[in-house]
Symmetry: C2
Subunit: 335 residues, 2 copies
């Protein structure tokens, strides 16, 4: 038996509830579309105790590539900018490097020549600029650099160039009991400096390419850890699931990447039983960010391409492609 | 103005509160003494927001050596028993090893000869028995072995030979917002199999000596991780703080060990600012467990000794020595 006032109340409550739902949309920077729906459906299925796909909280592991997945990687990785900027300081302590390549080219400031440096040259620069100091000295130096260095296009701090929709996604997953990990080809020590502040991710949940450190003592006998010019873990391609095994020891339930370097991590994630989410960020938005990745007929570049083979694998294995252009209402937090 | 009934109520409440306190002693297997008092004082100082020594929850990291600190390591490490028991299965797949040392000696069953195997021989056995399978096959094999293998003295499963006071200590720390990590010279993959069930420690909080794994595909194209006969991290001595940096990226607030292999971890922990707790388990209880460690005039053995230099450093740097004999009311959970 329904009285009119009761019906009115029901209508008001329904309207209020729908409003509340809209207001608490956990992914406000995402357009409604297959990507957003896949995320919401995945979270519902894996966190509802009544669901066949329920995943216990301790198993809720979500891994994120960083460069090109959480922040801008184009035209040059941020960490490489840091390494190039550090070359003068390194040469100051080792003047003999001033006339040795590739340091000579970097010191020349000739951008065209620097852009042409080979991968082995860049590795030499990385080894020289990322080692020789204690881990605390390194952290302090990175912190200082990040506080002032700006990217050339937006004239913003690099830490402002994170993708707002991905920050929302990480918060949404954490609000649902997921632990978010970064699994990056970038330097583990580098990313750990700002990961908490920028992504809400503590150091122990940052996995990356890692150099060895050596335990020793300073002049006053205090224990120190010094960064060595020796690669310990290469966290790209197959290195990603291998490092996930080493550092977490569990298979992720969800994984997010944007390039061939993330292929094995996404494969490995999807190959687990039950509900798994694998997503690829496609850079197809030349206006708001960059367009690269030939999968949708866009020109390929050297960095972060999404080649047809990867796009095909995504389709075949049920990975969800995120189009920056159509899936994201906003790209950055700044206007 | 106190009425008699009110005074009675006050007395009853006081008695009840003291009883409740006794009943909720978080360390019931510890005798009252300097070790127990140091633990309680440390937890109070680092978790009381009003304390100068307050440590924020995310920084509350406690690291534990395993062999000799959390469970019996004498006369032979448990994992070595596993490796020896696995030799016949390895020889079955590689019959050519039957006549090759050190496998020949292990197969002979001659205990005296096996006890005399050199460290390089034992390493050969470890490499051969801990590699070549997928990580899942390995986990399953370890689980099966642990379910039936028994130690020769107590005739108990190895997982029963954990020290009850240390289990209580870990629970007490966790109840106070500490995250407990194992940092062991033993195999990371091995310890992760039972750490959750036995210690309440999840795989991502087990750090240990680690072999490399290689990502690949099985015959049906499914991704697999295969254990390689290649040492990646040696988690002893200086390797402990180095691995802590790699896997956690924070300095522990508290650390627990029992041998020279733990020296650098304890040093590194104590060298941090503010309140830090470093403790050494001394095996001085021949009756209930074993007595080894010359620090208090006891005979040294090859395994887990506490040499005078370590004991001196403990005294000088304010590490607290835990005497099994006097500090522990009970050693094991079983009677």
């Amino acid at each position: 038996m329904r009285s009119k006032p009761l019906l009115l109340l029901v209508c008001v409550l329904a309207a209020w509830s729908s409003l509340a739902r809209a207001q608490t949309d956990p992914l406000p920077s995402w357009n409604d579309g297959p990507a957003k729906r896949a995320i919401m459906q995945f979270v519902r299925a894996t966190t509802d105790k009544a669901s066949q796909q329920f995943v216990p909280p301790e198993e809720r592991i979500a891994t994120f590539d960083q460069d090109g997945t959480l922040w801008v990687e184009h035209p040059v990785y941020t960490q490489l900018m840091y390494c190039l900027d550090r070359v003068p300081a390194v040469v100051k302590t080792k003047p003999e490097l001033a006339n040795v390549e590739p340091f000579k080219t970097v010191l020349s400031g000739n951008r065209a020549a620097i852009a042409k440096l080979s991968l082995p040259d860049l590795e030499k620069i990385a080894m020289a600029t990322l080692s020789g100091m204690t881990v605390e000295q390194f952290q302090q130096d990175v912190r200082q650099w990040l506080a002032t260095a700006r990217d050339p296009r937006w004239k913003r701090l690099y830490t402002e160039l994170t993708y707002l929709p991905m920050l929302e996604l990480m918060m949404y997953l954490r609000a649902n009991g997921y632990r978010t990990f970064i699994v990056t080809g970038g330097g583990q020590d580098f990313v750990r400096v700002y990961a908490k502040e920028v992504y809400g991710i503590p150091p122990e949940q940052v996995i990356g390419t890692a150099g060895a450190v050596t335990y020793g003592y300073d002049q006053s006998g205090r224990p120190i850890l010094t960064k060595d010019p020796k690669l310990l873990l290469n966290d790209n391609n197959a290195g990603k699931p291998e490092s996930i095994h080493l550092m977490i020891g569990r298979r992720p339930t969800a994984a997010f990447g944007n390039s061939t370097g993330d292929r094995q991590m996404l494969e490995f994630t999807k190959a687990g039983g039950g509900e798994r989410l694998a997503m690829l960020v496609l850079h197809d938005d030349a206006k708001r960010e960059y367009a690269y990745g030939p999968a949708r007929g866009l020109p390929a570049t050297k960095v972060g391409t999404l080649p047809p083979a990867l796009y095909d694998q995504a389709t075949k294995q049920g990975w969800v492609v995120i189009s920056m252009k159509t899936d994201w209402k906003r790209v950055f937090a700044f206007k």
